[in-house]
């Protein structure tokens, strides 16, 4: 399939400060991806460079096979055929829903405009709201209007800049799933920028994690969670415990959990000091197990309890257990490790 977007060694600088540093990735037509990272990681700058609002200091961006950004050559945003959805929605208060959605429809006559707007409003379940003004809509409705306004001219790519962070937390995940369904139905290629991993997991086919301007990993949500490529990704995504250990012969690791062998993501070197990453769902509660650990803390999370277990002095494990298994702090419970891939990071001295 053809690449809708190609980003090649792109760098963005503000003065002497590099905010996006040598980032490369491709996006297939119809794919939905997400740029995920903490605030200040450069994800919004990268998105704005793709939209044409920021020039590139190095590298190149190609949209639908055309080169749109190179150093000292930035095609104006209005010529790029991109659609944008912003955090504040940026709906025009002086225009109705109809006027807003039809804003970018060029070369359509009135009847065709009406038809297209109607079709899009039905797609997002807002049929009949054509004549309403933005301030008469709820936050979720405004969000959907902003989305279809960007989709209306059928852009080559849709760019969403933290589109859900202006909304109530309860609304976010539900909307993210709805938006994914809408984008998939229309076959839209899209990039979402967010700092919220649950949003990213709910919406994207693939996720790029950015830290300090660099692309740390580009993978599916599952892979990023269970096989993070570096310590930054491991710590930014999800929860987990780091267990110190040492590499012994045969590519196995000796730690407080005993000797571990198996699929290593990076082959460790003999004698290295390492840290093992264990996610809360890697540690499975099993009453039959002889491996018993003491509960030092617990947090009720609805469907599950998150227990903190003491492995030995100063080393703790997290364990996610169905909430029917209600144990007291101080109690010892049996656990098993359930690890597909052993993730071990070298310890820096």
């Amino acid at each position: 399939m053809r690449n809708q977007l190609e980003v090649k060694h792109a760098s963005v600088k503000y003065g002497s400060q590099t905010v996006v540093d040598d980032v490369s990735f491709d996006l297939e037509s119809g794919a939905i991806s997400c740029l995920l990272g903490p605030s200040g990681c450069g994800k919004t700058s990268l998105l704005r460079a793709i939209a044409g609002f920021e020039p590139l200091a190095e590298g190149e961006i190609l949209l639908h096979g055309r080169s749109v950004s190179r150093p000292a050559q930035t095609m104006a945003p209005e010529k790029r055929r991109v659609g944008m959805v912003f955090q504040d929605f940026a709906l025009y208060p002086h225009l109705t829903v109809m006027g807003n959605v039809a804003f970018g429809l060029r070369g359509f006559n009135r009847k065709q405009q009406k038809q297209r707007v109607k079709e899009l409003l039905e797609l997002v379940g807002l049929a009949g709201l054509e004549e309403k003004y933005p301030h008469q809509l709820s936050g979720g409705q405004q969000q959907r209007v902003a989305l279809i306004r960007a989709m209306a001219p059928r852009p080559d790519i849709l760019l969403l800049d933290e589109p859900f962070s202006g909304l109530d937390v309860e609304l976010r995940e539900q909307l993210a799933r709805e938006v994914r369904a809408i984008l998939k139905r229309e076959g839209v290629t899209a990039i979402l920028v967010t700092h919220d991993q649950l949003e990213a997991f709910a919406l994207a086919d693939s996720i790029g994690v950015l830290g300090a301007g660099r692309l740390r990993q580009w993978d599916s949500g599952y892979t990023i969670y269970h096989q993070p490529k570096d310590r930054f990704v491991a710590e930014f995504i999800g929860q987990g415990a780091m267990i110190p250990g040492r590499v012994i012969g045969g590519g196995s690791i000796d730690s407080a959990l005993g000797i571990m062998a198996g699929n290593f993501i990076q082959q460790p070197h003999m004698g290295d000091r390492v840290e093992l990453l264990l996610r809360p769902d890697d540690v499975v509660h099993d009453d039959e197990s002889d491996f018993k650990l003491e509960i030092v803390d617990k947090v009720f999370q609805g469907a599950e309890y998150l227990y903190t277990l003491s492995l030995e002095e100063g080393i703790e494990l997290l364990c996610l257990v169905q909430s029917h298994h209600d144990h007291e702090i101080g109690e010892k419970i049996g656990v098993r490790l359930y690890v597909d891939h052993v993730v071990a990071f070298p310890v820096s001295h």
């Binding site: 939209a51 044409g52 609002f53 055309r66 080169s67 050559q73 930035t74 095609m75 104006a76 945003p77 209005e78 010529k79 790029r80 055929r81 991109v82 659609g83 944008m84 912003f86 955090q87 504040d88 940026a90 025009y92 208060p93 002086h94 225009l95 804003f103 970018g104 060029r106 902003a146 306004r149 960007a150 001219p153 852009p155 760019l159």
Partner: protein
């Protein structure tokens, strides 16, 4: 192909950005020339005339100006704070009417209310005549307060300036209402204790800001004090300029006045900053007002209607009466030429101010760098500076320029250019821009701030060019602000007196100047048509203001 197209687009863009980079500071610099000229006289060694002033009248100017400020401060605080508290926090018959009607005195310039009251309360006026008819007293048989005095001037200024305090105090009371006042009441404090213990201290920064605005207007006033024969800084500047014909001494007096004004500006800005921290709630909900008993209601009604009666109804009614009785003599072609002069002048200057304000605020919005911000700030500081001072600061450099050019042309080509800038409408319009640009700038900037950068970016991503964005997004969203800016400056210029008096071309009369001249000649009734026109037009911005007040109240209660 693509590359070539992009580069030309880039160079076009950079030319446009340069127009802003140079234009914005240049305009700011040009507009600050009068103030800089006046301030520079602080460093010019004092001449004989100055020494003469110091020996004779300067003390009077200082003392009278100070006494006037003290009197006005007491007056506007008393009226402004009490009416603000009553209309925002208490429930009594007529409250919602007073809420906006108390702004009406703003429509009347101080010099107009001054001569109206003179007509009402002078020896030959209706009040004293009625008194003599009833009692049979004659001249010298009784004591009656002299309206044409320092106290009278303070009273006149208080009557039309209290709305500044009223407006800001009211906003402060409403802003603090929900949490702190309810807490005070739930702790058992009644209306009076709540007012003095909680509301007043919290509203103090806002009240001080309003007070400093009123005092700036007091210092800027020329018409009232001149008419009442009170020697203050502004009348002193006039006398030195025209009577002693000494520009340097007039400029030195102006510079002294400016220093006091700057102190007030600092007070106002500081208070506003503090007022933000004293705004105690973000939540807005319908507030429960104190329910007054019949006796208290009557008192509240009397206080509010007193302010309205003496500040607006009485003087406006007197003007109307005079206008009706002199309709035949006054409504002639001369009056029509006054109207056309005033409309033309105010229309042209307010339009120009609007264009400059648009240019400056777009410059600030697009570049957003600190030089642009500073430049816009400088361009907008004229609102505090008395018209008299601005006029002196315009006249001195313009006359110097004209003389120098004339001299050079005569030497080079043997013909005289005469007065190109000074003594023409150019000087007058420039002075208006210096004084009132702040008003349109503030309004346009507030309007532009509502157009968030993302709104531009969304439009561009949908293939909309800059011109089209201005036409389809900015103009529809800005329309209201632009109209408001135009109207506010228009009305301010129509009311302006001292700068117009000094800078107008020979025999060029406006409504304000004519009203003032006729009143000075004791032809009070004949002045009423011009004065009434000014008042009627002056009501327009009051209506605008009161509409924003009601709208914000609705927004809060929903």
């Amino acid at each position: 192909m693509q590359a070539v197209e992009n580069e030309s687009a880039w160079s076009r863009l950079s030319i446009r950005i340069n127009a802003w980079r140079i234009g914005v500071p240049l305009i700011a610099l040009l507009l600050s020339v009068p103030v800089l000229v006046v301030l520079s006289y602080l460093f010019v060694p004092a001449g004989e005339v100055w020494q003469h002033l110091v020996d004779t009248v300067l003390q009077d100017y200082v003392i009278n100006s100070l006494l006037l400020m003290v009197g006005v401060a007491m007056g506007v605080l008393l009226v402004g704070v009490s009416t603000a508290w009553l209309t925002s926090m208490c429930q009594f018959p007529g409250r919602s009417l007073f809420e906006w009607a108390l702004l009406l005195p703003m429509a009347i310039p101080a010099y107009i209310i001054a001569y109206t009251y003179t007509g009402l309360f002078d020896f030959a006026g209706p009040v004293q005549t009625l008194l003599r008819d009833w009692t049979g007293w004659g001249y010298g048989d009784y004591w009656f307060p002299e309206i044409r005095s320092l106290e009278g001037a303070a009273l006149m200024l208080s009557l039309v300036l209290y709305p500044y305090v009223y407006l800001l105090a009211r906003a402060a009371f409403l802003g603090q209402s929900i949490c702190v006042l309810d807490v005070s009441r739930s702790l058992g404090n009644g209306p009076w204790r709540t007012f003095f213990l909680v509301a007043l201290p919290l509203a103090r920064p806002a009240i001080v800001a309003g007070l400093s605005l009123a005092l700036m207007e007091t210092l800027a006033d020329y018409g009232t004090v001149q008419y009442f024969g009170v020697s203050t800084f502004t009348t002193g500047i006039f006398r030195t300029w025209y009577g002693l014909n000494n520009a340097a001494a007039a400029a030195q007096l102006s510079a002294m006045l400016l220093l006091v004004v700057f102190a007030l500006v600092i007070l106002e800005k500081g208070s506003r900053r503090q007022a933000r921290y004293h705004h105690t709630t973000q939540r807005h909900q319908a507030l429960t007002r104190f329910q007054l008993n019949p006796r208290q209601s009557l008192m509240a009604f009397l206080i509010c209607s007193g302010a309205l009666l003496f500040g607006f109804i009485l003087p406006a009614g007197q003007l109307l009466w005079w206008a009706l009785t002199t309709a035949e003599e006054s409504l002639d072609s001369r009056f029509l030429s006054l109207i056309s002069h005033s409309l033309l002048l105010a229309g042209a200057a307010s339009m120009l101010a609007l264009l400059l304000a648009l240019f400056l605020s777009y410059g600030k919005r697009r570049r957003g760098s600190w030089p642009a911000t500073v430049a816009v700030r400088v361009a907008g500081m004229g609102y505090a500076i008395p018209g008299t001072v601005i006029a002196i600061g315009v006249m001195i450099p313009f006359a110097a320029f004209d003389n120098a050019l004339d001299e050079w042309m005569r030497q080079q080509f043997g013909w005289s250019t005469g007065l190109l800038l000074s003594g023409t409408l150019v000087a007058l319009i420039f002075a208006f821009l210096v004084r009132f640009l702040a008003v349109s700038l503030q309004t346009v900037e507030a309007g532009l701030a509502k157009i968030r950068p993302t709104m531009d970016e969304v439009a561009r991503s949908m293939g909309t060019g800059s011109g089209e964005i201005v036409r389809r997004v900015h103009m529809p969203m800005l329309k209201g602000s632009l109209m408001t800016a135009l109207l506010l400056v228009f009305v301010d210029i129509l009311k302006e007196l001292p700068a117009t008096l000094i800078l107008r071309p020979f025999n060029y009369n406006t409504l304000a100047v004519r009203a003032y001249e006729l009143a000075s000649d004791e032809r009070l009734a004949d002045a009423s048509y011009a004065a009434l026109t000014i008042v009627v037009v002056g009501i327009l911005p009051v209506i605008l203001l009161s509409r924003t007040i009601t709208r914000s109240r609705h927004a809060k209660s929903t």
